[in-house]
């Protein structure tokens, strides 16, 4: 019983990170129709950035998260402007953004190798106070990951529903041409959304950084899982990304504990196929 509870909590913690990553991915897809396969690489860079800020500047963890979020948002906007944007235009095909993102993955990986080297980095002990109850262990950082993710999701929801800028983002997602007719600068909306998506991925990486090490490979799973989540939740759907993130977190945790850790990816994809067989547009997909 306590193992089930422990496993569920583990799943919610990972699910929080998955949700944040998938939120950015789904928004970028919904607004810009870009399959950003470099999303996991942004996650990885986020990890290195927070590590650098904390180790070099000696900044407090939460302030470092904030700085990382801002730095990565700016970085994301610049990258979007320099790569995905020029790849749009009259000659673009759905392949254009794919090629751009694959190019980015290579550039990012090599740059990270050149800047930080191949050796994994660790943040060391951050918020390691433990709570024990019902034979279950949670550390403070794990609680904070979930709390931070929930707050971020709520803030995002408020931003999208209650602010003019947020509404212009939603409008662009629902009908880009109409949005333009309302006087919305949709390519600026694209930049903002891309920046937000990158920032969310970086925040997720920052939140998870104390639990694992920071290395070149840390984003690989995130891209795959991110796409699994948004396909499962419905491409472009925000509730789909949130719920899908937690579902995937629970699946990966439960299957790692109860079935076989070796093949839990098989189970993840199995569930995806099952859901798509029942509802081809995903849980919250339109149509």
């Amino acid at each position: 019983m306590s193992m089930l509870l422990q496993t569920t909590i583990n799943g919610i913690v990972i699910g929080s990170a998955f949700s944040l990553v998938a939120l950015g991915l789904t928004m970028i897809w919904g607004i810009m129709h870009i399959s950003n396969f470099a999303h996991g690489s942004f996650y990885m860079i986020g990890g290195y950035v927070i590590w650098t800020i904390i180790t070099l500047l000696g900044v407090d963890f939460w302030l470092a998260i904030l700085i990382t979020a801002v730095v990565m948002a700016i970085f994301g906007a610049i990258v979007e402007r320099l790569t995905f944007r020029p790849a749009e235009g009259p000659f673009s095909t759905p392949l254009s953004s794919l090629i751009v993102s694959i190019g980015l993955i290579m550039i990012f990986n090599n740059s990270v190798l050149a800047i930080w080297g191949a050796r994994p980095e660790t943040l060391g002990a951050i918020n390691i106070q433990e709570f024990h109850f019902l034979n279950v262990t949670v550390t403070l950082q794990r609680v904070l990951i979930v709390v931070a993710a929930v707050i971020l999701i709520a803030l995002l929801q408020f931003f999208l529903k209650r602010t003019t800028l947020g509404m212009s983002i939603e409008a662009t997602a629902q009908n880009a041409e109409s949005a333009r007719l309302m006087g919305i600068n949709t390519s600026r909306v694209g930049s903002i959304v891309f920046a937000m998506g990158v920032s969310l991925a970086a925040i997720a990486a920052g939140l998870m950084a104390p639990l694992t090490n920071i290395n070149i490979g840390m984003g690989d799973h995130m891209t795959t899982y991110g796409f699994v989540i948004i396909i499962l939740g419905g491409m472009g759907s925000i509730p789909g990304a949130i719920i899908g993130g937690f579902i995937l977190g629970l699946i990966s945790s439960l299957s790692a504990t109860y079935l076989t850790a070796n093949y839990y990816e098989v189970i993840v994809f199995g569930v995806l196929i099952l859901i798509l067989a029942i509802k081809p547009t995903g849980l919250f997909g339109a149509k």
């Binding site: 003019t164 509404m167 212009s168 409008a171 009908n175 109409s178 333009r180 007719l181 006087g183």
Partner: protein
């Protein structure tokens, strides 16, 4: 002239959809663009609003060339389009659709409130439905919302792309009454229509588009009596 379109060529890839179209609208005029399916009405309105860029020709709005401007600048300058198929934000409430219509005036909360009241006065049903998702409105209500949303931008030129499509005759009549009424109050309006009889009955002038070219143009009354127009578009 409020709007002056001169010799516009617009393409979809290699396919030319507008061929040297010239078209103008004077202040406070109600002008209709007639044409059967696929003749280029929508293309012309999209070109004016900057959604499509013409390969050749000029478009002047208040004597300023707008053919290279971005849609958001053109909208901010005072051109508003209720697009074909209404283009509502289906998952958003009626209220939010209207608020987005006022996007270019987003900092003028008071003015928007006033404008919203005007729209609700014009279309009382929208007020009743304001919290409902736009996607759940009936065809007539949806068209009213599309017009209301375009009005929220406080346009100097209001353009409507086939407002009658898919609506019952009495609703069409109601909407056209409102269009006429708006025009009477000084609003400059362009209506693209297949329903020529209806459109010509309220318009001052009309243009007939045939495969991307202006084939006939003139006073509405003259067009109503033109044999070609009668034969093809009114079916008399």
């Amino acid at each position: 002239m409020l709007l002056e379109v001169v010799n516009i060529d617009t393409y979809y890839g290699d396919a030319q959809a507008l061929k040297g179209v010239s078209f103008n609208v004077a202040n406070s005029e109600l002008v209709t663009i007639l044409g059967a399916n696929g003749m280029g009405k929508t293309t012309l309105l999209k070109t004016i609003t900057g959604l499509l860029k013409p390969k050749a020709g000029t478009i002047k709005f208040y004597e300023i060339n707008i053919e290279r401007m971005s849609t958001y600048d053109i909208v901010a300058a005072g051109v508003s389009l209720a697009p074909e198929g209404r283009g509502l934000f289906a998952e958003m409430s009626v209220l939010k659709n209207l608020l987005l219509g006022a996007y270019v005036h987003r900092d003028d909360k008071l003015g928007n409130k006033e404008m919203m009241d005007n729209v609700f006065e014009l279309f009382p049903i929208l007020k009743e439905r304001q919290h409902q998702a736009a996607g759940t409105l009936s065809g007539g209500e949806a068209q009213m919302l599309a017009i209301g949303r375009a009005l929220m931008a406080r346009p100097k030129l209001l353009m409507l792309d086939e407002p009658s499509v898919g609506l019952a005759p009495q609703i069409v009549a109601h909407i056209f009454n409102i269009i006429k009424d708006l025009n009477n109050r000084g609003m400059t309006i362009v209506v693209a229509e297949q329903n020529a009889a209806m459109a010509l009955s309220i318009a001052h002038r009309g243009y007939v588009l045939e495969t991307g070219e202006v084939s006939i143009t003139g006073e509405a009354k003259a067009l109503l009596n033109d044999d070609r127009v009668k034969r093809v578009y009114i079916g008399a």
